[in-house]
Symmetry: C2
Subunit: 407 residues, 2 copies
C-alpha cells in the first residue's frame, strides 16, 4: 500500500468510515466528515467508505469496501519457491516481482492467469468542439465497428496474446447497432468542459459503476486477468486535465500531441485544458468531482474496471495514458487498489510517466506507443504469462543438481 | 549504417579490400594496409575484408563480405502499408520500427519470423580463479545439462515463445556427454586473462566461426529469427573487459555484480579487470585482438551467431550484457551488422546501456533482468511476433471505412 499522505485523501469524501476486523465484523464507525487513519496498520484493512449516509450502499461503495490487502503469506511462499529455482535469486527481475504480486492478489503460490480479457470502453467528448484532436469525432463509432470486426490493433494483439476483447459503448454520441457490442450508454458524449462540467456527479458514479459491472461479469465468466482499453476521439484532453487536477503539475509537462497535433494545435490544446480547469475548479480531494468536471465517460469506466477487478482479487493491467488516468481515479477512490495493478508500457504522451509515479508503478515495455485501445496491456500479457510459467515450469537447484551460491 | 568514424575501424585489420558491384563482381581491390572509404555510398556495399593475404578466404572473411545493406525499397513498401492501417501514423512506435527493420532485412513488405531459435553458447573462464563469480565453476556444465533437460529459465521462456533452444559447448572445462548437445569445443575454458591472453588469435577466430556455422546451419534448417544466449560462470568479467577495451570508459561504470557479488567482491572484480587490461593491452582497433586477450569463447561465438544471421539476411535478437559484448565484437568486425540486430531488454548490469548506445540500439523491455541464457531475447520474440502480425492482420482505413486525419 502507498503510504504517502496523498494516498489517503480519498477518505475525505467518505461520510461514514467503517473499520472491520478480519472476520468482516464492524469494529468501529465514525460519522460525517470524520477520519480514521490507523497509521501503519491501515494497509491491513479493506478500504471502507459510504458515499451517502443512511442510504443502501451503492455498488461503488460496496466495491470499494470489498477491496482487501494482498495475501502476504502467499507472497512469502511464492518468493521461497522463486529463490529455489535454478537462477541467482532475483535475477529475473520484474518477472519475479510479477509472480509475487499475483500471488498476493490470488492467494496462490503459483498463480495462473490464462483467461485474459481486454475491456475497451468507448465514449465521446464535447471538448472535441475546441479542436483538440487530429481526427474527426466520427472516428469513435467507426473504430468501435472496427473492434467488433476484429480489424483494429487491439484485436490483432489480443488474438496473439489469446485474450478476448469486450467492447462497451459507455458514451458514444450516435447509436451503434452491432452484434457483440455491450451498450451501457450513460450519456451521448460528455459536455464541453470549457463551458462547465463534462457530466453530472451522478453520471460520473454511473460511469464508474458500469466499469465495475463489466469487470465483475467477465470475472464471473472466467476471466483471470483484465486489461484496460479505451476509445474516444479527444480523450487525451480529459486525461491531461484529470492528471493536472490531481497533481497540480504544470500543464506543459502533462499535455501531449495525442493522435498527432502540430505545435500550434498542441498549444491550443493546453489553453483549452487550462480554461476547463479554471471554469470547473475540480476538487483534487474528491475523485468523483474531478471525473464529473473534467473527465470522460470511458475514463470513469476504466476506473470502475480497475476497482471491479480488485474487488474480485483479479489482477488488472493498465494500458497507457488514458487508462492511466482511469487508474489514477480508481486509486484516489481507494488507494489500496494500486496493489492489484500491473503497468504495461510507458506511453509517448508526456504526462504518462507522472501517472505511473503517482501510482508507484513501473512499466514493463518501452515501445514508444501512443495508440491506446489497450494495446500495451495486450502486449504485457505475454510478459505476465511468461512470469507465471517460470514459477511453475523451472527446475529447482535440487531437482537439477545445480550447485548454489558459494559466497 | 552507423556513420561514425569508429564504425569504420574494423577495416584496419583488412589486408585486401574488395569493392563489389550489385552483381557480385569485383569492381576494385586495394592491397596491404590500404583503405577505401567511399563516404556516403559506403553503406550501399557489403562490408569487405580479408584477414590473411593470398590465402583462401576464411569462413569469417566470407561471412563478413557477404553482409549487405538493408533493402530500402522493401522498407518503403512496409512503411506505406503501416501508414494505411487504422491507427495514427507511427502510433505503434517500436512495433512499426521492427516491421520496417525486418522488411529491410528480409526484403518482404510483410516479413514473417515464425521459426525462432535461441542459440545458447557455453564456455568457461580461467579468470574465475580470481574469485570474480558468486557461483562455483561447476555450475557451467550443470546448467548445460539443465538446458538439455528443459528445466532452465531459457527453456521455459522459449517454449512459451515457441522457439527452439540449441545448446553448444564451445569451451566448457570438462567433457559433457549428453544427447542434444552440440559439441564444438575450441578449448577447455579460457586461460586466466590476468596472466596473459585468454586465448590465441586462432582460437578467437575459431570461436567466432563456430557461431557462424551454427547460425547458418539453423537458418538452413528453417530458422527465420535467431536469439543469442550465453552460459559461463564468470562471463560478465570478460564482457566488461571487452566493453572497457572498445569504449575506454571508466571501469567503475562498466563492472557489475554479475550473479550477485557483494561490495567487497565487486571492488576485487574491478581490479581483476584492470589488471587483465594492463597485462594484455588489447588493441581497440582490432576486434579479434580484444576477443583473444580479454574475451571468452562463448562471447566470440555469439559474435559469430550475429554475423552468421546477418550473412543469411536473418534478424538476430540480442539478449543482455554478455550477448551485447558479443554483438559489439561483431559490430567492430563489420559495422553494418548492427542493422540486422534487435535489442531485447535493458539488463541490470551497469555497462549494458553503454553497449546499446555503441550499437545504436534501444531495448524493448525494461524488466531489471540479469540472468542471461538468452532469456531477454526469448521474451522479445513475443513483441517481434506481435509487430509482424500487426502488419499482416490489421485493417486499413479503406477496408474498415474509418476517416483519416483531418488536419
Amino acid at each position: 500500500m502507498n503510504e504517502e499522505p496523498e494516498a489517503r485523501r480519498p477518505a475525505c469524501f467518505c461520510l461514514l468510515l467503517l473499520m472491520r476486523g478480519d472476520d468482516g465484523k464492524v469494529l468501529s464507525s465514525v460519522g460525517l466528515g470524520a477520519f480514521i487513519f490507523p497509521g501503519n496498520v491501515w494497509g491491513r484493512f479493506p478500504c471502507t467508505c459510504r458515499l451517502k449516509e443512511g442510504m443502501i450502499m451503492t455498488l461503488l461503495e460496496e466495491t470499494i469496501n470489498s477491496i482487501g490487502a494482498l495475501d502476504s503469506a502467499a507472497q512469502a511462499e511464492a518468493r521461497t519457491r522463486l529463490d529455489s529455482l535454478t537462477k541467482p535469486p532475483g535475477s529475473l527481475g520484474v518477472l519475479e516481482e510479477i509472480v509475487v504480486k499475483l500471488a498476493g492478489i490470488t492467494g496462490e503460490k503459483c498463480p495462473v492467469v490464462r483467461e485474459k480479457v481486454v475491456i475497451v470502453m468507448a465514449g465521446d467528448h464535447g471538448v472535441v468542439n475546441q479542436g483538440v484532436s487530429a481526427y474527426p469525432q466520427e472516428v469513435t463509432p467507426q473504430m468501435v465497428l472496427n473492434f467488433l470486426n476484429g480489424g483494429a490493433a487491439i484485436n490483432v494483439l489480443s488474438r496473439h496474446a489469446e485474450a478476448r476483447v469486450v467492447v462497451c459503448d459507455i458514451g458514444v454520441i450516435g447509436e451503434i447497432d452491432a452484434p457483440g457490442l455491450v451498450v451501457k450508454k450513460v450519456r451521448h458524449g460528455t459536455a464541453d468542459m470549457t463551458e462547465g462540467p463534462a457530466m453530472t456527479r451522478q453520471e460520473a458514479v454511473r460511469a464508474v459503476e458500469v466499469g465495475i459491472e463489466l469487470a465483475q461479469a467477465e470475472i464471473a465468466s472466467g476471466a483471470q486477468i483484465l486489461g484496460t482499453g479505451d476509445m474516444g476521439i479527444g480523450n487525451t484532453t480529459p486525461s491531461s486535465a484529470i492528471l493536472a487536477a490531481f497533481s497540480g503539475a504544470p500543464l506543459k509537462n502533462l499535455v501531449g500531441r495525442g493522435t498527432g497535433l502540430d505545435d500550434g494545435r498542441l498549444e491550443e490544446k493546453r489553453k483549452v485544458i487550462e480554461k476547463a480547469l479554471e471554469v470547473n475548479r475540480p476538487d483534487p480531494d474528491d475523485a468523483l468531482d474531478v471525473l464529473a468536471k473534467v473527465g470522460g465517460l470511458e475514463i470513469g469506466a476504466i476506473a470502475g474496471t480497475v476497482l471491479g477487478a480488485a474487488s474480485r482479487r483479479v489482477p488488472v493491467v493498465i494500458d497507457g495514458f488514458i487508462a492511466g488516468a482511469g487508474a489514477l481515479l480508481a486509486a484516489r477512490l481507494c488507494p489500496q487498489v494500486t496493489e492489484f495493478m500491473l503497468a504495461s508500457h510507458l506511453s509517448e504522451e508526456p504526462g504518462h510517466a507522472l501517472i505511473l509515479e503517482l501510482l508507484d508503478l513501473e512499466p514493463m515495455l518501452t515501445l514508444k506507443m501512443r495508440l491506446g485501445e489497450g494495446t500495451g496491456a495486450a502486449l504485457a500479457f505475454h510478459i505476465i504469462d511468461a512470469a507465471t510459467r517460470i514459477q511453475v515450469e523451472m527446475a529447482t537447484f535440487q531437482e537439477a543438481g545445480v550447485s548454489e551460491k558459494d559466497i
